[in-house]
Symmetry: C2
């Protein structure tokens, strides 16, 4: 069993996003078998690219407020919001607010 705290994990700049960092919490190194737990921080005025891919996201918002842009709607989210983004649906995460948006984004391993 591995037990850690988010604050112990180093954040990496996301080169493909604006003002955003990622931490891999539970990945291959930790022995993840089927899905990877990642921690995103989108700083104010930051965003991830509006894109799609053939795997799903399961999202849980931890802190702050933000917007998830989907193909058919914009969703304002905050701590306690969660989202399922199916494969091949275009999406981005945007932070037009004044405090960091922090969330978990879990993806399949393959």
């Amino acid at each position: 069993m591995i037990v850690r705290k988010v604050d112990e994990i180093e954040a990496q700049e996301m080169s493909e996003a604006q003002n955003a960092t990622i931490k891999i919490l539970i990945g291959e190194k930790e022995g993840a078998l089927n899905f990877i737990m990642r921690y995103f921080c989108i700083n104010p005025k930051g965003s991830t690219p509006y894109h799609s891919h053939d795997w799903e996201h399961e999202i849980f918002i931890l802190k702050g407020k933000g917007v998830i842009r989907g193909e058919n709607a914009l969703y304002t989210v905050e701590a306690g919001s969660f989202a399922y983004i199916p494969p091949n649906e275009k999406h981005s995460f945007e932070n037009p607010f004044d405090e960091p948006l922090e969330f978990l984004c879990i993806i399949p391993k393959w």
Copy 2:
């Protein structure tokens, strides 16, 4: 895309645990393909059974404090702690503290 809030989801008593409830946030009904996002609340003096199974857990602590009992150690956890529990390792979640322990527990779908 599905976007919801934890407060909208009904909690179910966990018959196999003490003073604990579960919400299925992202499951088969929501279209989950590979892994299921579940929300646990272990109330003060509550616990889940000390057991093992052949699938893994990926855990993220959201609120409160608690103890994860593993085969070789006890870990005190709080908001921002996360854990990887591999298949077949015995574990339980225990709350000897005074406020509810709330966490995400993600499991593979199969």
